[in-house]
Every structure is written in C-alpha cells, then in structure tokens.
C-alpha cells in the first residue's frame, strides 16, 4: 500500500504536466487553424478542448493516447491487423527468440572468456566495440544480407535483437562467473574437483544473481532490438512498423500508443524475469 501511493502521486503529477504541455505545444497550430477557419475569440476552455482533440497533434493528450490504446487493443479482435495486440505479439515473438539467442550467446562467450586466457584477452575489447557499431545503421543491410542467404521473417529480427542483448549478459556473466572468492575455489581444489564440477557446483550458482540482473537489462534491450529490426523489415508488421508508419503518416497518436504498448511490454517482460529470479532465489535459499 505504501508503495502505491507515491507512484500514484507521481503519475498524477506527470499526467497533469502532460495535459498542460499538450495545450502549450498544440496551441500555435490550433491558433493557425482557428484563424484559417475565421474563428475569432474562441473561449479558453473550448480552445483547450480543441488542443486536446487535434487529429495530428504535436503532443497528443493522455486521453487520446489511452483511447487509441483501447481502440487498438480491447476494442478489436486480437487477430485484426489493426490491433496493437497483434503487432505486439509479432514483436514479442521476435523479442523472445532474440533474447533466447542473446542469452545463450552471452553465456557461451562468458564461459569461453572465463576458461580461456586467449579469448579473455582478445574478445572483451571487441565485444565492447561491437556495441558502438550503430545497429540501426547495420540492420537494413543485415536484413538484406540474411535475405540473400535465405533467412527471412522472424530470424533476422531475432538476430538483431540478439546483437543488442548478448552484451549485458556477457558482461554480467563474466563478472558472475568470476565472483567466487579465491577461498571458495581453493576449497574445490583441495577436493581435486574437475573444472566441470567447479563450474556447476560453484561458478554457475555464484553467477545466478548476475545472470538475472543482466537478463533484466537484456530482455528490455531485446525488445528495442526487435523494434529496430522492424524498422528495416516492414513485412509482417510489428510494433516497430507501427511506429514507423505512424511517423511516416504523421500520426502522432498512433506513435504514442505503440510506444506505450512497447514500454508496457518491456515492463511485463522485465517483471517476468524478476519473477523467475524470485523463484530461483527461493530454491537457492537467498534471504528474502
């Protein structure tokens, strides 16, 4: 209960500021419209109502966005191509696949880095450099290139999403797999444990908190990756495509609605990972 109240307060504050801002930002255009329609002396309340109800506002009002979200989800069949639920599902599937790829790749790389001196020294700088490559720039070419080798549809999107999401996992897992203290490793040495046993009985469990922390970042980034990929791969729809077409057609309300659905999706995904973490923690006896 004492967590809900502050959040609500802040939310209300944001909505209030938002309404005010949408009056302020939409006002110049509304004035022009009114001038053009020869409407002089529009009363202020009516003017405010006008700014909140523009067709293509600079900043749509909260209820416009909420209405659009409602219309595009609940009010439609989820299989309809106009439904954001439909597009959300497309993006979600690319996100999940990309996240699975990204997490596996990240873990594999981390294991290689931990167990092999040469990969430790050679890989890490390049993994960091890989993230400075603007994926948005590479994505269109990657989509075409993958197309050339026969990969279309979900997989190219998932690969782009993987490209972004493996990074936090590698970084986190390298830290995690290295987190056991010297004394804990020494203990296993006194038992003459094999590297395999050391990995499963010590390094892996010790890395769990790091893995989950990275996965929470990773899944949010996966979603961003999937959306970026959709900007370059418009066939089949998806939230990214909605954002794009909204932008192309100047339909700000549509952009905002897609944006909120995407953010909501991200929040849900992060919560799911958090839930999984909680369950694993319980099994591993982590203190509440």
């Amino acid at each position: 209960m004492n967590r809900i109240l502050p959040v609500l307060t802040i939310l209300l504050a944001i909505i209030a500021i938002w309404y005010a801002a949408s009056v302020w930002m939409n006002a110049p255009w509304q004035t022009r419209l009114n001038e053009r329609a020869d409407l002089a002396n529009v009363p202020f309340t009516e003017f405010v109502a006008q700014t909140w109800a523009q067709d293509k506002p600079v900043l749509p009002s909260p209820h416009q966005v909420a209405g659009e979200i409602w219309n595009a989800t609940i009010a439609l069949e989820p299989t309809s191509k106009r439904s954001l639920a439909y597009h959300g599902w497309i993006t979600l599937s690319a996100t999940l696949l990309g996240f699975a790829f990204g997490t596996s790749l990240g873990v594999l790389l981390a294991v290689a880095i931990i167990h092999n001196d040469a990969s430790d020294r050679s890989l890490m700088p390049w993994i960091i450099a890989s993230q400075t490559v603007p994926i948005v720039a590479v994505a269109p070419m990657l989509v075409v290139g993958l197309n050339a080798v026969g990969l279309t549809g979900l997989v190219p999107k998932a690969l782009i999403s993987m490209y972004l999401s493996f990074f936090p996992v590698v970084v986190g897992m390298v830290k995690g797999l290295r987190s056991p203290e010297g004394i804990q490793l020494d203990l296993l040495r006194t038992y003459d444990a094999t590297p395999w046993q050391a990995f499963w009985k010590l390094r892996w469990p010790a890395a769990m908190p790091f893995l989950f922390a990275s996965m929470k970042v990773g899944i949010a980034i996966s979603l961003i990756g999937a959306i970026v990929a959709e900007l370059s791969n418009t066939a089949g729809g998806g939230l990214g495509v909605r954002l794009l077409t909204g932008s192309v057609n100047g339909q700000t309300v549509q952009i905002w609605a897609a944006l909120f659905i995407a953010a909501g999706l991200a929040a849900v995904l992060v919560a799911v990972v958090g839930r999984a973490e909680h369950m694993v923690n319980r099994r591993m006896g982590v203190r509440a």
Binding site: L11, A137, M141
Partner: protein, 369 residues
C-alpha cells in the same frame, strides 16, 4: 610429442598443419599460379614437425601473417577464389589462434611482460577478423552493395575524410557530447534529489525503470518534431537515453554504502551533506561509472537513430541512411567505422577515468575491468 601444448593448442596445430598439407596437394595441378600461396602451404605442412621438434610460437605468428599476405596477394581480380585457397584461410586462422593461445599462456606464465603484449592479442583478433572479411567478400565475390571489402571501405575512408569529419562534428561533438553531459548530470542530480525523499524515490523509481525500458526509437521522431531538425533534437534524444540509466544506477549506488559505514557517520552526528560528500557519493562511484560507460555507447546510437528521422544534410546518421539509399555502402561502412572508433575511444576514456577515480574498488584493484 611436445608437452608444452594444451589439448586445444594441439588440435589447432593439427588443423593448421593438415590444411597446409591438403592445400599443398591441391595446388600441385596448378603449380606456379600462386607462388606465395604455395610457399605458405609448404611451410604450414612443415609446421607439423612441431610434433617432434620444438616450434616457437613466434613462428606461428609469422605463419599467420604469411598466410594472410599470401591469401590477399593471390585473390583473383574477379570471380571466385580457387577452392583450395579456402584451406589457406582456415590454416592461417588456426595459426593466428594458436599464436594467440600460446602468447597468452606465455604472458600468464610470466615469460613475457603484461603491458604491450597484452594489447597485441586483441589487435591480432581484430586483424584476423578483417583479413577473413576481406578474403571472404572478395574471394566469394560478394556484391559490394551487400558487403564491401575492408580495402574498399578503407579507400573510401581515405577519400572522404572531409565528409566524415563534418559528420563526426555534427553528430559527435554537437549532439552526443552535450546530450551526454546534460543527461548524465541531470540523472545524477535527480538521483540525489530523489534520494532525500523516500516518497519521491518510491514514486519515481518504478517509473524510471519503466522509462528506461522504453524503446528510444519511438522517441526519436517525437523529439525531431519538438526540437527541430538540427542537433538540438539529437541531443534531446541522447539526454532521454542517458538520463534513466544514470538515475537508476546512481540511486542504487547511493544505497551501496554499508550499514556500518553509515552508522559510523551517524556516531559523528554528521550532517546530510557531509554524509553525502564523504561517504555516499564516493561509495556510489563504481555505480556512477557503470552508468557513464553504458551511456557512452547508448549516446552515440541514440544520436545516429535520431538522425534517421530528419536532419540538415550532414551527420553520421544522415550519411548512413542516405548512403544505403544511394547504395554507397562503402561510405556507410566508413561511417560505421568512425562510429565504432569514436564509441570505443569514448568508452576507453571513461574506463580510464574510472580506473583513476575508483582505484579503491576491488574490481579495479583486481586488475582488468
């Protein structure tokens, strides 16, 4: 049988030598067509002698270089590379890996100094990647509009330094740096402000987490709509991207001081300010730097994405998007190279500062970050 090789090294040596032997056999019918390649194959085959004779790892390095050189020298002007030349690619890649493995082992054993040689290894890895890229794109005649060869990119890079510099200034100096500074400073200040009030913290943090998961791609067109075409809108996107990671990390960092460290301050009846300056900010240092590092890569990506949605006719994002449209893919890759170099340098600088400032943290004391 040499005892100095690990299992992995042995396999690599066998692959390298085996490919040399096979390649030698395969080049006999066309003997004289590619003399350098023939020499490489011959020496690679000879490297199998390591099983009975000592074979210095420097020789492996030399062989990797020879292989790369032979490959690039005997690339056909057009059409496909002869099939058995791919063996040379595998062999020289195996030599390079073997070299790096043995070099790393030598460093670990303390036979070679850490500084300097430690840097050689990632360099070799990068060079190997570039050689493979060059050989594959040209050897398999991949269309330059799909993936140009590094040599073509380098040529274009050298020929367009003027454009690249102008784009770099527009994107990096004008958009990324101000946006990064504003976003990080604002994140830090808000975190400190929020930290004072549990109520605000409870209210803002869930929303902050929500916002940091927001796909910025969606913000970019909105920012362009709000702040115009020039660098201001790009800087705004960068601010939006960097703000939340900084906020979230700093708030976590401010809580990083342990109870006992705080109790100590409390026994001195230290004021809020004193506790902040002398304990909590220093303790938050590693977290703040973490955010600074994350943000250094995010900022560049954000600015470039924002440039996809409207710019003056200059900027890295602009050049990349129009370059793809004009099929000037080599220029696009030159821009990507600039972005990668700038981004890595940016990251490197932050990491260096981090080493200096948070020298006391176990992760820094322990060695590599």
């Amino acid at each position: 049988m040499s005892r100095t090789l690990s299992m992995l090294q042995l396999y690599l040596a066998l692959i390298a030598g085996g490919c040399g032997l096979l390649g030698l056999a395969a080049s006999l019918p066309t003997i004289g067509a590619a003399p350098l390649m023939l020499i490489f194959f011959a020496v690679s085959a000879l490297s199998l002698l390591r099983l009975v004779l000592p074979w210095s790892f420097w020789l492996d390095g030399v062989l990797a270089v020879l292989g790369a050189w032979a490959l690039i020298a005997s690339l056909p002007a057009e059409g496909l590379m002869p099939l058995h030349h791919w063996l040379a690619l595998i062999a020289s890649w195996a030599f390079a890996w073997l070299f790096v493995e043995r070099l790393a082992a030598a460093i670990r054993a303390g036979k070679l100094p850490e500084t300097g040689t430690g840097l050689v290894i990632p360099l070799i890895f990068g060079l190997a990647l570039i050689v493979i890229w060059e050989v594959v794109t040209r050897g398999a005649s991949v269309s330059p509009v799909l993936l140009p060869a590094p040599s073509a990119i380098a040529t274009r890079f050298a020929a367009s330094t003027g454009i690249l510099w102008a784009d770099f200034v527009q994107t990096f100096i004008k958009s990324v740096i101000p946006g990064y500074v504003i976003g990080c400073v604002a994140g830090l200040l808000v975190a400190i402000a929020v930290d004072r009030s549990p109520f605000l913290k409870a209210g803002i943090m869930p929303i902050g987490n929500f916002m940091s998961a927001l796909p910025i791609i969606g913000i970019a067109p909105i920012m362009v709509m709000w702040f115009g075409f020039d660098w201001q809108s790009k800087a705004a996107v960068v601010v939006a991207m960097t703000f939340f990671p900084m906020l979230v990390n700093t708030v976590a960092g401010l809580n990083a001081a342990s109870t006992i460290e705080r109790d100590l301050m409390s026994t001195y009846a230290a004021s809020y300010r004193q506790t902040l300056m002398k304990l909590r900010l220093p303790a938050a240092g590693p977290f703040i730097f973490n955010a600074l590092k994350i943000n250094s890569t995010l900022a560049l990506i954000g600015a470039i994405v924002a440039e996809f949605f409207g710019t003056p006719v200059v900027g890295m994002g602009f050049r990349i998007s129009t370059g793809v449209g004009r099929l000037a893919i080599d220029l696009v890759w030159a821009e990507i190279a600039v972005a990668a170099i700038a981004g890595s340098a940016f990251y490197g600088v932050i990491a260096l500062i981090e080493r200096g400032v948070t020298f006391w943290h176990p992760s820094v004391r322990g060695g590599r970050t």
